[in-house]
């Protein structure tokens, strides 16, 4: 039986479209100071660090070199994962379970504004022989997948657009969100077409920000003061990023991760057991596709539930109370950390104007973005 592990400290910077006032290291420092204060630790208490990073986005070769100083983790067991926040939390969880560390720090950030041509960066993730030479904007992958999703489920573009309306609306109550707003379905549908049926307002715009968490096992928790949020289930899974051989019909990576996480957390009836879900919504349809994969909604009813307001704050199963990536900004691999931060706040009762009453257990569902089919599921509990 796995030992209980918990997030005992959470730190962040507000998310913004631009952050010319600070380097990524300064953003991380700000988040680290908050996290350590929250947890009641000093850098001397840290046993190990897990950081998230991808070279091309950082604009640095071997970008894991620049991790330790701003975290106060020089000459400690520090490593980087080129993965998302759930995968990073998974590494921290395993380090704690294996007993090699009692207190682990998890760091992730986005300095997306440093990328002058993000599409050029994303295009470098496409197969260099078969796909990249076409020189298409990589967003076509999401456009194709959305077409297929709408076809498979019967959900309409109009229904998908409702996701952007909901999430940007929720973000109005989130002080760290970069892109809150009152918008309408019409505005989403008539915004600039990008990769049909995706339009500009159906795509989460990039943002900058940093997150640091302190995670501890039972022995580590004794050395911390922060209010614990327990990790009840954690799993990650990948389908291929190869466009020719992947499954386009569903998010199989989330189906597999969810099955494992539900089993680990021993959830009998996930809808009743979960107070909220933070599901990746880098594109409007992704939130709905991920919900289908999580199998929380009766098959074929996702569109109806959305229309009926079940996913709203105050609904039967609030989805993305934080505002999601559409409302807070796309932080790439750190987006999942933004979702974990929201879960920590909701479960601690610190979510302010968007607090879900009696939030007991939440689910975080992540995705690494195009062209990947990698994501994870974390189930967190306040007690």
């Amino acid at each position: 039986m796995a030992e209980r592990t918990a997030i005992v400290g959470a730190g962040y910077t507000p998310l913004r479209a631009l952050s010319p006032q600070a380097s990524f290291r300064e953003l991380v420092f700000e988040a680290a100071v908050r996290a350590y204060q929250d947890a009641g630790i000093t850098p001397a208490d840290i046993d190990s660090v897990v950081a998230l990073g991808e070279d091309y986005r950082e604009g640095t070769c071997i970008s894991d070199e620049y991790v330790p100083d701003q975290l106060g983790a020089v000459q400690k067991p520090v490593h980087t994962v080129t993965g998302d926040g759930v995968q990073g939390l998974g590494m921290a969880w395993m380090l704690l379970q294996s007993g090699v560390a009692d207190i682990v720090v998890l760091e992730g950030h986005s300095k997306a504004s440093n990328m002058r041509h993000p599409a050029h960066v994303e295009a470098m993730a496409l197969d260099p022989v078969f796909v990249r030479p076409h020189a298409w904007n990589p967003l076509f992958v999401a456009g194709l997948e959305m077409q297929r999703f709408l076809h498979e489920t019967g959900i309409t573009s109009r229904q998908a657009a409702q996701v952007a309306v909901k999430n940007k609306g929720n973000a109005l109550r989130n002080p760290i969100a970069a892109y809150p707003g009152h918008i309408t379905v019409e505005q989403v549908l008539t915004s600039q077409p990008l990769a049909d049926p995706l339009t500009e307002l159906a795509v989460a715009p990039p943002a900058d920000g940093a997150f640091v968490f302190v995670v501890a096992n039972a022995a580590g928790c004794k050395r911390c003061r922060g209010q614990p949020v327990y990790i009840e289930g954690i799993a990650w899974n990948s389908d291929t990023s190869n466009l020719a051989t992947r499954d386009w019909t569903r998010a199989t990576y989330i189906e597999k991760a969810a099955a494992r996480a539900y089993e680990m957390a021993a959830l009998q009836n996930p809808v009743a057991d979960l107070s909220f879900v933070e599901a990746d919504d880098a594109y409007t349809y992704k939130e709905l596709q991920h919900l289908e994969a999580l199998q929380l909604v009766p098959k074929g009813r996702t569109g109806q539930w959305l229309h009926d307001g079940h996913f709203d704050l105050g609904g039967k199963l609030p989805i993305n109370p934080s505002g999601g990536a559409l409302g807070c900004g796309n932080l790439h691999d750190a987006s999942a950390l933004r979702a974990i931060l929201e879960a920590v706040w909701q479960l601690r009762g610190q979510a302010g104007a968007r607090q879900i009453p009696n939030a007991r257990r939440g689910l975080v569902c992540s995705w690494r973005g195009i062209p990947t089919a990698t994501g994870g599921v974390a189930i967190l509990s306040g007690r």
Binding site: D64, V67, P68, M94, L95, V100, S238, D239
Partner: protein, 389 residues
Amino acid sequence: MRRVAVLGAGLTRFMRRSLETGRELCWEAASAALQEADLTLADIDCVVLGTAPDAFDGVHMKGEYLLDGAGGKGKPYVRVYVGGGTGVFVVPAGWWHIASGAFNTCLIVAEEKMSSTQPHPQGAFNAIYDQFTERPLGVNLLWIFSLEMHRYMQTYGIPLETIAKVAVKNKKNAKDHPASQVAGDFTVDEIVNSEVMAYPVMRLMVSPVTDGAAAMVLASEEFARKKGGKHVWVEGVGWNLDTSYWTNRDLAYPQYVEKAARMAYKMAGITDPRKEIHVVEPYDPFAYKELHHLEGLQLADRGQAPRLLEEGFWDRDTTTGIPSSPSGGLLGVGNPIAAAGLMKAIEIYCQLSGKAGKRQIRRNAQRGLAQAWGDLMQVGTVMIMGVER
């Protein structure tokens, strides 16, 4: 923590300009490891990939690109990354996937395809430096190593000819390694008189540009016992990352390697490494680094590894010393960065399981250590394996 066994290992040929794609290299190594373990991909619970800069393969999110070849499709899959230290680090990463109780079997794969970088990977290495203070100088890795090598030689009064003997030893050892790229018989004169790259770093003291992949199958004790037979066990793992501000520390001694080693020794219950480690694969991308690392690993006093080299203490056929880089190391077998690190771990596995063939050391080895290093002369990664006890 649960015990972790090694069930099999696989390697591709190390070569320049391989015709295989990175994915194919991964597949070749992974399937060889599975075959030796007598398992199929269906038996594998999770996959850990190690590969160094994305710039080499020229693919953003390289881990996702290599996923199919590494066997990650439909599985929990993750890529870990500590620069040049990645190759040995995949062993600790695979270890914690199992030791934590999360999984019973783990396929670890390390890949590098450096020759896709044109005209030369040293160009990509410029981008490892600080954007503002160092990159504009147009520096590459050879430059930083010439600084560190100078400092090491100057601090302890080590002659160039002694350091050249590391290259002589490793290139000779590599003649018996089936994957080797730059093995051969060289004299000290040939090494010191080879082309100057960045004095005192000479061409034959530098590991080559290489394409290749390596893989290993790890399993829980329960799974390994069911499989039967005698196994090699992962007994200790350690890793440590120093400050990014490399200009602020004394380059004569790698403290981060010492800390990584002490973490692994503690886990393995080793109190006197010079007696309890019987074979070692220290990271040798440059000739002096092997000596530098042997000191960091506490297998020689500071500044004394070169003297022991002269005495034959690190030779493969020693019966009183500790054989160092019996594989032939990066200087002989080649240096596909992450794959080279895992090749070193695989050599320890081969030596301990008696599968090293002509490279088998003469002294009886119960325990061995592999170490890698990377980033801005900044990270140490260590893994210790032992035989069935």
